[in-house]
């Protein structure tokens, strides 16, 4: 029996906060960041394979990453790789995927998931996704996955939970993107808030309706190509029209405006692995000295709480260094205090200017 459940893995990000490991030519989703032998993209694919058949798994990415996708996911159907001709954030990406899937299967439901997050309880993830599919298949609902916060993180979006409508599923009261530390602390204390994991479930028809209601320019643009989706003409249509979509995130464009928005409280371990310190928080540390080493051999003398990443087999010796990120990516070495990792983006811009695109 053909499954009506689809998955869209979003795989076009550049992960610049993880520079110099995450590079324009090979962003972090394509890296075996946890040293498990599988890249973050491969882990995302493996995880969803228990819930969605592989012929229904679609990857949306930037054109330049096509060969990386084919190399890392050899089982995926070539027609299931959607290549964006331009970066336009998540809203246009999701609109395209929804139109594409809806053309193939008007009854389709779909999960949209990032390719570069860490999920530590795969069984918990499966159960959550199955419950989510069941909910959106029987309700006209836009469902997002929420994570119980464990710290007053200021880098995430927060979801205020409203009335319960099903097991672990509630109406959404409010969204708050990247709160101040004081506000994040209040959110944590009240117990009413969840982190927005950036994982969404809905019927293809439901999200297409939402685009018509809240992002009509994008919906009108894709409506023009209605008869090309799922046909050999689709890529020509996209090539010609996609770049005209204004860049916007699905959160701002749809979720914060729609009234039929729900959140499912996830019970699995999750991190967006957005920064070096989030990798540190999710990695095993050396006893006593709490250093994290990635790839390399580490000798740490009078050195604690560092993040040390270097190529396999390289020896890194740190003496008298505390709370730093040391990231040696072969042709680039970055040394930066953990407390200043938000400056990595500026550093990348500085390098871009000085070296005319080299080292990015």
């Amino acid at each position: 029996m053909k499954s009506h459940r689809y998955c869209v893995i979003m795989c076009g990000g550049v992960g610049s906060r993880f520079w110099p490991y995450s590079r324009e030519e090979r962003p972090k989703q394509f890296i075996d960041f946890l040293g498990t032998g599988r890249t973050l993209l491969q882990m995302s694919y493996d995880r969803i394979l228990h819930v969605v058949p592989k012929e229904n798994i679609i990857v949306v990415t930037n054109s330049r990453y096509e060969s990386l996708i084919r190399a890392q996911l050899p089982d995926i159907l070539p027609s299931n790789i959607l290549l964006e001709p331009a970066r336009r954030n998540t809203a246009p990406c999701i609109a395209w995927a929804a139109y594409h899937i809806h053309a193939l299967d008007p009854e389709a439901s779909m999960i949209v998931a990032p390719s570069d997050h860490l999920i530590t309880d795969e069984r918990g993830f499966e159960g959550c996704v199955v419950r989510g599919f069941e909910f959106v298949e029987s309700n006209d609902a836009l469902l997002t996955i929420g994570i119980s916060p464990t710290r007053p993180e200021t880098g995430y979006g927060y979801i205020q939970v409203g009335d319960t409508v099903a097991h672990d599923i509630n109406k959404v009261k409010t969204f708050t993107e990247k709160p101040s530390l004081d506000l994040a602390k209040v959110f944590l204390e009240t117990g009413e808030f969840l982190w927005n994991a950036g994982i969404f479930l809905w019927k293809a028809s439901t999200i297409i309706n939402a685009f018509h209601l809240y992002v009509s320019d994008v919906a009108n643009l894709f409506d023009k190509g209605a008869d090309s989706f799922g046909t050999p003409r689709e890529s020509a249509f996209i090539e010609e029209n996609f770049a005209a979509c204004p860049a916007n995130s699905i959160d701002y464009a749809v979720m914060e405006k729609a009234s039929n928005v729900y959140v499912e409280c996830a019970r699995f371990g999750w991190s967006d692995l957005g920064t070096w310190t989030s990798l540190y928080d999710n990695s095993p540390l050396t006893p006593d000295t709490a250093n994290m080493s990635h790839g390399c051999e580490l000798v740490a003398l009078d050195s604690t709480r560092n993040i040390i990443a270097a190529p396999e087999g390289k020896l890194v010796v740190v003496q008298g260094l505390n709370d730093y990120i040391v990231a040696d990516a072969g042709d680039v070495l970055l040394i930066c205090p953990k407390s200043e990792e938000q400056r990595i983006r500026q550093v990348v811009n500085e390098v871009k200017t000085r070296y005319d695109g080299k080292y990015l």
Copy 2:
């Protein structure tokens, strides 16, 4: 006319304080440390070539460095490379060279010079060496080169200057190896002390006499081989007997005991390049931030007074780092505060123990 002047370049050291750049397989004398296109050994050879004909230049080194010597000094006669079968510090090394040269030329005078020091005024060096040769050729003298101290350095040996006997040449009153900081300050203030540059001049016969007087076990051992020096049997004799010499420095073994010891005050710029900070002191720095970069591209943000060495073409980005040594030698990365560079030797021992000789 055949010259009676010889040069012995000592080239067997391992330079462990410069780890991980200086390695057992390629110690610092074999590295282009100053980025001039010539290694320290090649610079030492080039320098002496103005004073001593190349057929009289002898290199004493450890057997394992023979191919490096031949590659870096292709002009040197193979018979002028003396290969020590074991490391025994400078006294046995100099004894062998003196017996070797004396067998070739009983009238020989010789300069003994390290291969890994920096001398910045080559003309000044030449004049100094020529005056030194003239002095030892007409006097039964052991002459050492002294440098006017510019700071209360505790890592050097100091020479107290006695009566003047010739232009810029004085009797030596005392030697003091590696004084305390307080003592070094007093030495600097009195103006009576010079740094011991480890460069010596004497007739071969004079130093052989001194070995008989002060290191008779070594002299007796080499006397046994008297008829083999300068013949094809020399290397077999050395192979069999050299390792029996007790390890000792020429300073402790001879210079501190002999009565015919003189010092010539040098007028040239000199550094033993013994440590990363001595390289820093002799290198051009970035304006304002006073960082030193070696080999690599450097982007330094809120970072000052660092020593940054990495392979050619590598980009090093430091953010919020001050007064550190960052030395990336390809397979090893060392990060250590400049103020703790004396711990590098301990670090090397730690690495030796943990990795069974790898990375040295």
